[in-house]
Amino acid sequence: MLEVDAIHTFYGESHVLDGASLEVSRGQVVALLGRNGAGKTTLVRSIIGFERPRRGRIAWEGAAIQGQPPYAIARRGVGLVPQGRRLFAPLSVAENLVFGARPGPWTADRVYALFPRLRERAEQGATTLSGGEQQMLAIGRALLTNPRLLLLDEPSEGLAPLIVRELGRVLAALKGEGLAMLVVEQNLPLALRVADRVNVLSRGRVVYHGSPGELATDEDVKRRYLGIQ
């Protein structure tokens, strides 16, 4: 469904992605791991069109999409839950939720059923929510665009352990519905629990890919690229 083929993305002269490649198949959950500064967020930004790779190819259903404007990529069926959530603070919870809504199986009612707290707080400002509720709103907002692939950039960042467990259940439920996901995570247990495939990024390149089980037992990769002793 999504193929990222040897892309090179720069910030000014700084070479952040150095030939990064990965693939997400229909209904598959792919985790993207790596240390800070490895280029994970840049890879997500390149896929959604916020950054334009200087070289390489990004294909969606076989058609090249690199260099297209973000709105066009989003409308093809790529949903974004960005790093730091990036809710629209001037908008209410309900306005945030339906902001990018497009027709499809996901409706506001279904999202409210999944996250009842959001319905209770629908008229409040989005930034009055707790961190966990904000993350759920960011996920709900992306779901309402009715994507076929969901990009999640560090969804567990800054959340309490209890909320991270809740997040894990939500991701598992979405996976159960057959939604494909690319999940950037620092939280290794969470990533290993939901992912079908695992990619490790280091210095702008995918240096490892395998199944969660293989990575869990590969002490060398975990030590070298993830800093886990």
Binding site: F50, P70, Y71, A74, F88, P90
Partner: protein, 283 residues
């Protein structure tokens, strides 16, 4: 009393100008220095329509639409290619347009001061306590309030309004959710230009039109935006009303220091609230 009403009327003109400038800055990140030129262009276009058709009301409708079209064309053809280059290129470009429009207006209409009378229905004066006050100025106050209310409803109660508010906050994220932000940018720029032109037409019966009017009002408009906070309709309204009173009373009581007073107000607001009255900290 009359001074306060004059200040209110002047504040409403500043509001029509600054609300467009602040939304354009908030969403597009462009400090549109040509905003005052849209005001002048609106004034002259309004005079042309009023003289040609004999109807001030027609001028009030047609001139802003024409200038909005000019604004849309400038945004699409000149500004859009520069968004990736950062603010300096855009500031220089809009600065250049000040001179282009200034020359254009002198070439088309000459350097004379021009004016039209207010429409007959608004021509008289009304008794207000001990003094008397022109009906037209009361119309300007009510008109400004009506525009403020309509804009507020459009921003707070419509889908396009939600997109604009979200775009002021984080335009990239709006695009990442499937909104064609470029089209909204054009619409906001055109609406801002149209509102500036509306202010220009409304101002003509009071202040007349002269070639330097755009630059003169631009300075005040920028101060209003700074006082009110960038990207905020409420801030634009509050800043306009404050500056309207400050300048009007300044001119009446301390005519030699009225410019000093408006800068003094700006400095005081910035000391107390560095992001302006309704502004937010930059991310």
């Amino acid at each position: 009393m009359a001074q306060a009403l004059n200040g209110l009327e002047y504040g409403m003109l500043l509001f029509l100008l600054s609300v467009g400038l602040t939304l354009i800055f908030g969403m597009l990140g462009v400090v549109n220095l040509a905003h005052g030129s849209f005001y002048a262009l609106g004034a002259y276009a309004g005079i042309a329509v009023a003289v040609f058709t004999g109807s001030f009301w027609l001028a009030l409708c047609v001139a802003p639409l024409v200038v909005a079209g000019v604004g849309a064309a400038i945004e699409r053809s000149c500004l859009r290619p520069l968004y990736a280059r950062g603010p300096n290129a855009q500031v220089l470009l809009t600065f250049g347009f000040i001179y282009v429009f200034d020359d254009l207006l002198r070439w088309l209409w000459g350097s004379h001061v021009r004016s039209v009378a207010p429409p007959a229905a608004l021509a008289g004066v009304v008794a207000l306590g001990p003094g008397r006050f022109p009906v037209y100025r009361i119309f300007v106050i009510l008109f400004g309030l009506a525009v403020a209310l309509l804009l507020w409803l459009a921003l707070e109660r419509t889908r396009l309004g939600a997109i604009v508010r979200a775009g002021v906050w984080d335009a990239e994220m709006a695009a990442g959710l499937g909104v064609n932000v470029a089209r909204v940018f054009t619409a906001v720029f055109a609406a801002g230009a149209g509102l500036a032109a509306l202010a220009g037409v409304v101002a003509v019966p009071i202040q007349a039109a002269y070639p330097g009017m755009g630059v003169e009002i631009l300075v005040r408009t920028l101060i209003v935006v700074v006082i009110g906070g960038l990207g905020s309709l409420e801030g634009s309204l509050a800043g306009s009303l404050i500056l309207g009173q400050a300048e009007t009373f300044g001119k009446a009581w301390l005519p030699d220091s009225s410019m000093f007073i408006i800068y003094g107000v700006m400095a005081a607001v910035l000391l107390l609230r560095p992001t302006g009255l309704f502004g937010r900290a930059l991310r």
